[in-house]
Symmetry: C2
Subunit: 191 residues, 2 copies
DNA sequence: TCGTACGTACAGAAAAAACTTTACAAACGT
DNA sequence: ACGTTTGTAAAGTTTTTTCTGTACGTACGA
């Protein structure tokens, strides 16, 4: 994993242990991003790598098959947590961790949540149209009117929520979120 | 699932189809919250229920065992997406969907992400301390100093990110997020 | 053009998760 | 106090997912 030359066995061990703790913590918590434990572990491992890695190197480091590395890296690149690096005269693909975690977080929402929002809004709108038409066709039917009114209200409320969620994620995409919640903690107001 | 009395077979079918589309869309996208498809489906079904449900009713409606309903509801209540309702003279537990989806969204982050942040920051801080001590103990060792400096920088950067993420989620918890990104779309600025 | 190396699709094996059945403890009504 | 009913724990089954090994298409170098 590294060049431990120039350090004692003990020193190298301490560094490795410190890294391992972080790697496992990151890996364990990456299920929030919908990735498996081992893919999270792969990400954590790559985080400490100072240069881009090949699939073979990852497999060696993780003690897993190259195929697994391929699928793991694919997942991570789809989420823009890892990206491919070009190096002249290098036949193998090289990958490295995207170092800007703020951007990684934002990208995750834009990629995953935005799509989810679109799907849900589409379904909601379609059902809403159907229900409204149904109500129009039989205005005298009180039972029908009541059911449709209840459902319609729920769907409209849900759409409003998703629109808000979309606007929130827009602030991630545009970077405006960092004006609203600054990266640097603002100094305490002294009064 | 409902009282279809007073409606024709066809009308009831249209309403059911409209609901089904929404239920499945919601269910499918709830993997973002880390719940299974069927639990998401359960949630979607309960969303259209106008009164609190018992486990038996859920089982009937979902065509699944009561035990599954029990665990599903447990998952949803832990996420505060569903809550228990008390009704006098009722032996069975009653549950209903939390209707405020903005709050549900916020709760999810406070519950899941906040914990993840705490765990990661703790691991990062611990490793950071160990590395700093290690560097202090052998200031002349250039190889060691270099490795530790690199890792230390990464860990510090990661902690800064998590602190930001924590502040972001604080705005969810306090409701301040709704001042930053209003629920109502602000009217277009006319200039 | 041929041969070799690389990444991944595919099929099968292993592991994990979801779901059901059974069993039981707690709570309630009589 | 007793008999029911309710919710869930535990064990077992089924389904799904993850991981490996093999096979193959593609691209590059000679």
């Amino acid at each position: 994993m590294n060049n431990w030359v120039g350090m004692t066995e003990e020193q190298a061990g301490i560094v490795q242990k410190a890294r391992k703790r972080v790697i496992e913590s990151i890996g364990k918590n990456m299920d929030l991003y919908g990735v498996t434990l081992s893919t999270g572990h792969l990400y954590g491992m790559m985080f400490f790598q100072d240069k881009p890695m090949t699939l073979d190197e990852m497999g060696e480091e993780m003690g897993m098959s190259k195929t697994s590395m391929s699928t793991g890296v694919r997942t991570l690149t789809d989420l823009k947590m890892v990206h491919k690096v070009w190096e002249k005269g290098m036949r193998k693909d090289l990958y490295e961790v995207e170092p800007d975690w703020y951007q990684t977080f934002a990208d995750f929402f834009v990629i995953k949540w935005q799509k989810s929002i679109e799907m849900n809004v589409q379904a909601l709108r379609k059902s809403l149209v159907e229900l409204r038409r149904l109500a129009e066709e039989d205005p005298g039917n009180e039972a029908l009117q009541k059911v449709v009114a209840t459902d319609t209200r729920k769907l409209e409320e849900a759409i409003r929520y998703y629109l808000w969620l979309g606007r929130l994620i827009d602030t991630f995409e545009s970077g405006e979120i960092f004006k609203l919640v600054p990266k640097e903690e603002p100094p305490a107001d002294s009064h």
